[in-house]
C-alpha cells in the first residue's frame, strides 16, 4: 500500500511523579489511512495522541514522522505541527480568538501567510466544515457541534497531512456524531491521514481502516476492525463492548445460521448475508435505481422539477455542502449519514432513491455500488442526474458552479 507517515518505536512515557502512561508501544501508520485508537479511560490514548505533534516527548524510544525521527527544537516543532493537525476533545480549550474568522485564521497568520492567503485558507476551511457565513460570530454563541467544526476548521486552515482527533464525537448528539464522522471520511477522501481516539466502538468499527486497541499504555491488538474487535476475550480485557453487528454475526453463526461472505462491517453487509440465506425472496425483486445529483452543477429549477416527477422518493445527502444545499432549498432529507448503504438497501427492496452530493464524491458512490455489485452479484444501476435540454428549464445555462 502507500508509504508510512507516522511510526513509533518502543516509546515510553511517564508523567512526572505518576504511573507509566505509555509502557512501550511500537506501531506505524500509513498515508491516507483511517486509524482508530480504541481503549478505556486512562489507557493512555490522549497521551499517545499528544506525541503525534510533539506536544509530549517520549521518555524513551523514538517517534518518526515521514521516516524522520522527530526533533524537538522550536523550528522543527513548527514544521511538524503544521503537518500534523491536532483537534482537542474540548473545543472551548482550542478556540482562542473572539470570532470564528479570527480563530480559523490563527494558524495561517502565525505561519506567516499573506492577508489574501489567510482569507483564502479560512474561506476554504470553513467551506469544508460547512460553516460559511459564520465568520463574524463569537465562539460562545455556537452550539457544541458548531464549536467542534470551528476547531476542526482552525486545524484544516493550516492544511496538514495528518489530522489527529481526540474523542471527536464526545459531547455531541448521535446525529451530530455521525455528521462529524462523515466529515472525517470526507477529509480522508481528500487525501488526509486521519487518526482518532475513542471509546465508542460502534462508531469506530465501521469507520476505521485499522484499529489499535490500547489498555494500560500498551497495544492489546492492532488489526483491521473485523479482527481487532472480533475477539470477545480481547474486548473484555480492553473494557470495551462488542460491536452489535459483530455480536449479531457471531450469534447467528452459533445458531447454525453462518452468514456467507466476509464479516459484516455495516447493516448493508449483514442484510446481504441474511438475504443470501433466504435466496428465494431476493430473485423476485428487480433492484431499484440510485440517482445521483451533483450539486456543484447548476441544478436550479431542474431538481425541483425532477423531484415533482418522482413523488415520495427517499433523498439522502452526502457531504457537508450537500446537506447545506438541501437545507437552503428546504429539501427534506431521509438520510444524512451512511447514505450510500441506505440507498443500496432501498434499491434491494426495489425502490429508487436520490443522493445529493458534491462533484468529488460522485466517483465514490459508483465505486461503492460497484464493489457491492461484484460481491453480491446484484447489479444496481447508478444514474447521474443531468439537467435536461435547456429549452424546458429556463436559466439552466448560467453554469456558475463553484
Amino acid at each position: 500500500m502507500s508509504s508510512i507517515i507516522l511510526e513509533a518505536r518502543d516509546i515510553r512515557y511517564r508523567y512526572p511523579g505518576g504511573m507509566e502512561a505509555i509502557a512501550g508501544m511500537s506501531f506505524h501508520i500509513r498515508k491516507r489511512e483511517k486509524i482508530a485508537l480504541v481503549g478505556p479511560n486512562g489507557a493512555g490514548k490522549s497521551t499517545l495522541l499528544s506525541m503525534f505533534n510533539g506536544m509530549i516527548r517520549p521518555v524513551s524510544g523514538i517517534m518518526l514522522f515521514d521516516n524522520q525521527p522527530m526533533q524537538y527544537d522550536r523550528t522543527s516543532l513548527r514544521v511538524l505541527r503544521k503537518r500534523v493537525g491536532f483537534v482537542l476533545q474540548n473545543p472551548d480549550r482550542q478556540i482562542i480568538a473572539p470570532t470564528v474568522f479570527q480563530d480559523v485564521a490563527f494558524g495561517p497568520t502565525n505561519l506567516g501567510y499573506s492577508e489574501t492567503e489567510v482569507r483564502d485558507a479560512v474561506t476554504l476551511a470553513l467551506r469544508q466544515v460547512g460553516l460559511e457565513g459564520f465568520e463574524r460570530r463569537p465562539p460562545h454563541h455556537l452550539s457544541g457541534g458548531e464549536k467542534k467544526r470551528v476547531a476542526i476548521a482552525g486545524v484544516l486552515a493550516m492544511d496538514p497531512d495528518v489530522l489527529v482527533f481526540d474523542e471527536p464525537t464526545s459531547g455531541l448528539d448521535p446525529a451530530g456524531s455521525e455528521d462529524i464522522m462523515e466529515l472525517l471520511d470526507e477529509l480522508n477522501h481528500d487525501g488526509k491521514t486521519v487518526i482518532i481516539s475513542t471509546h465508542n466502538v460502534e462508531l469506530a468499527y465501521p469507520w476505521a481502516d485499522r484499529a489499535i486497541l490500547m489498555v494500560n499504555g500498551r497495544i492489546l491488538r492492532e488489526d483491521i476492525p473485523e479482527l481487532a474487535f472480533g475477539n470477545p476475550e480481547t474486548i473484555r480485557k480492553a473494557h470495551l463492548s462488542l460491536p452489535t453487528l459483530l455480536e449479531l454475526h457471531s450469534e447467528l453463526g452459533k445458531r447454525g445460521l453462518p452468514l456467507p461472505g466476509k464479516v459484516p462491517r455495516t447493516v448493508l453487509d449483514i442484510m446481504h448475508g441474511i438475504e443470501s440465506l433466504i435466496e428465494s425472496k431476493r430473485s423476485t425483486i428487480r433492484p431499484g435505481t440510485i440517482t445521483v445529483c451533483n450539486i456543484d452543477q447548476d441544478m436550479q429549477g431542474y431538481l425541483p422539477a425532477w423531484l415533482a416527477g418522482h413523488p415520495g422518493i427517499p433523498v439522502g445527502a452526502m457531504g457537508t455542502r450537500a446537506k447545506q444545499h438541501a437545507e437552503n432549498v428546504q429539501l427534506h432529507l431521509d438520510f444524512t449519514y451512511g447514505v450510500i448503504d441506505k440507498c443500496i438497501l432501498k434499491a434491494l427492496l426495489g425502490e429508487n432513491s436520490l443522493i445529493l452530493t458534491t462533484g468529488s464524491m460522485v466517483p465514490r458512490i459508483n465505486q461503492r455500488v460497484d464493489a457491492y455489485g461484484k460481491e453480491s452479484g446484484t447489479c444496481i444501476a447508478v444514474a447521474l442526474l443531468v439537467p435536461g435540454p435547456a429549452s424546458d428549464i429556463p436559466g439552466s445555462k448560467e453554469g456558475d458552479s463553484p
Binding site: 479570527q102 490563527f106 502565525n110 506567516g112
Partner: protein
Amino acid sequence: MFEEFLEEIAQKNRLRQVNTYLKLATGVSAILLCLVSTSYIAPLFIAALLTFAILFLARVDAKTYAELFIHPVWFGLVSVIGIVLIYGGPTVFWNWNPLPWFSLSITRESINQGFFVFSRIVGGMSAVCFIALTTPMTDLFTVMRQCRVPDVVIDLAMIIYRTIFIIMNQVVQIYHAQVMRLGYSTWRESIHSFASLCGATFIASWESGEDLIRAMDARCYDGRFAIMGEARKPEFMPAVALCGFVFVSSIVVIISHGITIL
C-alpha cells in the same frame, strides 16, 4: 442572573451590521456635543434621540435598557445632590450652618448647575449605551487595530474577552452545583460557598490559561493574531442619519446656549 450579557444584545441588535465607524462616530459626537453644550437642553435632546435609536432602530428591549440606565443615573443623582448643596451662589433659597466652617445651601445657581450636570450624565450615558448595545467588542478590536493601538494591548484584550466567557461559564456551573446542594441557604453557608466558588474559579482559570498556551503552541503560535478587517462600507442611509443627528444636535446646542432651568 448571568443571562443578559450586554455582549449578547450587541451581537443580536438590528444595527449590528451597520459600519462600526458610523456607530462609534454617533456615540463619540454625542459625548462631545454634551460636553460642549452650556445648557441642559442639548444633552437631554441628544439623550432622547439616542434612546429612540436604541429602542426603535436597534430594537433593544426597553426593560433591559431601563435597567442598564437606572444604576448610573442613581449614582449620578447622589452626586448631583452633593453639587446642589455645596455649589453656593448669591441667590440663596435655603441655608444651614451645622459647623462654623461648614455650610450647606441651596441656591438658584446650584440648582442650575446640578440640573445641568445631571442632564450631561443622562446624555453621556445614552451615548455610551448606544455604543455598548449596538457595537460588539469584536468589531471594536478591528477599530483598535486600525487606530494603531499596540498589538500587545489588542491581543491581551482579545484573549481576555474570549476567556471571560469560558470562565463565566465555569462560574455559573459551580454556582449552580452549590445552589443545588443548598450552598447558599444560610448566611454562614453563603460565605463559605462563595469562598470556595472563588477558589475553584481561580484554579479553573489557571488551568484554562495553561490549556490556552498549549492550544496556541499546537497551532504554531508565533506572536501573531489575525484581525478581521472592516469589510463593510459605510452605508448611505446610516451615514445620512449620522450627519442629520450631528447637524440637528449642533443647532440645538447653539440655540440653547446659556439657557438654564431657573
